[in-house]
Symmetry: C2
Subunit: 448 residues, 2 copies
Amino acid sequence: MASMNATEPPTARPLRLDTAQSDFEATFAQRLHWSADTDAAFEARVADILADVRARGDAAVLDYTQRFDALPAASVAELEIDPATLRAAFEALPAAQRDALQQAAARIRRYHEAQLEACGRSWQYRDDDGTLLGQKVTPLDRVGIYVPGGKAAYPSSVLMNAIPAHVAGVGEIIMVVPTPRGERNMLVLAAAHVAGVTRAFTIGGAQAVAALAYGTATVPPVDKITGPGNAYVAAAKRRVFGTVGIDMIAGPSEILVLADGSTPPDWVAMDLFSQAEHDELAQSILLCPDAAYLDAVQAAIDRLLPTLPRAAIIAASLNGRGMLVRTRSMEEACALSNRIAPEHLEVASREPQRWEPLLKHAGAIFLGAYTSESLGDYCAGPNHVLPTSGTARFSSPLGVYDFQKRSSLIEVSADGAQRLGRIASVLAHGEGLQAHARAAELRLEDQP
Amino acid sequence: MASMNATEPPTARPLRLDTAQSDFEATFAQRLHWSADTDAAFEARVADILADVRARGDAAVLDYTQRFDALPAASVAELEIDPATLRAAFEALPAAQRDALQQAAARIRRYHEAQLEACGRSWQYRDDDGTLLGQKVTPLDRVGIYVPGGKAAYPSSVLMNAIPAHVAGVGEIIMVVPTPRGERNMLVLAAAHVAGVTRAFTIGGAQAVAALAYGTATVPPVDKITGPGNAYVAAAKRRVFGTVGIDMIAGPSEILVLADGSTPPDWVAMDLFSQAEHDELAQSILLCPDAAYLDAVQAAIDRLLPTLPRAAIIAASLNGRGMLVRTRSMEEACALSNRIAPEHLEVASREPQRWEPLLKHAGAIFLGAYTSESLGDYCAGPNHVLPTSGTARFSSPLGVYDFQKRSSLIEVSADGAQRLGRIASVLAHGEGLQAHARAAELRLEDQP
């Protein structure tokens, strides 16, 4: 943890780099590096918790909840929060928070409904011979949503995980949220009400992941588990992958800002802060061809940092992992961004639509000066669960598609079976799978 | 391994069950059970191979290839098969195999192009205030395809993995295929040519997965690895998940046939065989309300089994894991199928469209008597890489979508920033993230 000195305000000096420096590549690569490697002893502890919950069910969940969350209970049923309690939490909120939650939820819902419409529907076509081919898209039956408790309790995460599941048509949405020493976050409970959570349990850690994956007498087994968590949760999710589906394992949050110098430096500084304030490992990077603009952002950092309550965390993040990089051009900045494949990518430019087509890999792309990442985090509509640590090279924001699955549909006509049977027979014999060949040949009118 | 007795042909007696039996649930559940659990020593061996390839690159790949595949080489470059060799393998095939490969590839390509059209395109919309929201869909840059060698060398797998990647627009498709003692399967090489593989290496096992995930001096690092393999390959894929994307870890292959008694029993028996011949752990299940029909299928099994070259494997699979289950009704059979979530689901009925809407979870659904699973395996068009072991509850056939990723697009207008900024500010303060709030507030015309 960063320490704050009561007399001197923290200072933040993101590393200044220039792509024209001879040692740029090595320095840049080293600063980017982050690894989630855990040791074998840690892995074994997680494996033990999973095995224990699988074997002992509710009793094991109770033990670990008492041990890790200091939350004693006589039964897991006592750890369930009923829907009336979720609703009451919502109704007890100040009007401004109630409205903000509802408006954010409505916008997130609308976006994910558009996503369902664009890419989540069944489709089919027929060949000339009447053979039908297609895919049927159906929702998952039941999913589990992990919501972190304690200092990182984010009601917006509840909206972002539960709403896409709800829009997809998932039958039951089970939320788990640890409540250390019984402290409940009322905004989290209210968000669960707004987002359509079906059942909620105040359990967390690897034991909650195990309960959702295997089921216990009280916690129903789910088909998929999504949502962020600490190292125990991440390791547990990785281990139950296959028994259930999981979303991507998240690393520290990151922002990359591409700037052409047209956005007020204060705005960009605050956007870098808003990533850095998550935790000391978060990474904020600014790429810009204009060295004077980088100076202006640094000056804004110096001026604005002391005004923020989380200044110590921000300073630790920027000093440890932040970078202000002068590039030769905006084109080079775009190419560098593609190598990083950032979670959040802001295009702080007066011509964002000029650069957008050059950007291939990113979780979310925020175009233009007005599109602060924080608007996307809460209420623009798109999901804030995004691929981190370069995984945007191969993975996508959480979406309706994560709560659906597809089944191929094939109905071969009698005519189609004649044409296809001959092809299948040749290939099956070529692979030495004669029963496959015979199954195709039995459907031929002129059997070989 | 099953043993063949030269004098007595193998017999296959799938377990006969009736859903009305009192012990049905327990017996059925026990017979369904399959676990991929591996021990810690095995996991450690795989971890060591991965770490070694990560550290020593090509040299480690060469060592393991010599040790495990008895294939010595002076460099990994020697293990690359150039495109001309792939083409030559294709051109040297008998005409019937060449044609079958090309026709299968054309049909698989057409299906995946329809899939791209139906669910793989970018989309966007604008709010009244001009704010743009959407998602940009882009292909992965480079993927790796694992193709098993040795006895289970399946050219159809090359088509099924490479064609969706090619249709998605993936820039480079790197194939790895072990060639124990240097034995190359010409159909596999020819299929790589037909499917548009970019580069091919004769390496396999955990070392090939490591080379693709981390890259070596010779093997380029990829963004995602797909394709089936043995326990080493599966464990290695699971471990590199996060560094690269992976497809589902496959268990033994399965078929479930729902029959109303209208399909010739010989056809259904051969379809059960065509799954069972894959390996002794493969599972074939027939559900039917008509006991006499189950008798007729058993008689067909008895008559047809001795005619098949792989009779011993088929018998071992059916005797160890096969089931013929009498259900109370077709409706009950559909409900049971949903609990199993089979990889392959045949609806051997004269009214397949009546039952299809009742079927929620399956990798691929084969409708009607003419639609043998083997037609789908090779050439109907849909992918034969399907979720196994009940994972169809939450996952999908391999498809174009596995070789694409999505980036959210957000461009908030100046007007939009006023409305959204107020919502984001309330929620960010509620989460204690003041820099997030300030970033939104800086864009307000009337700053609080």
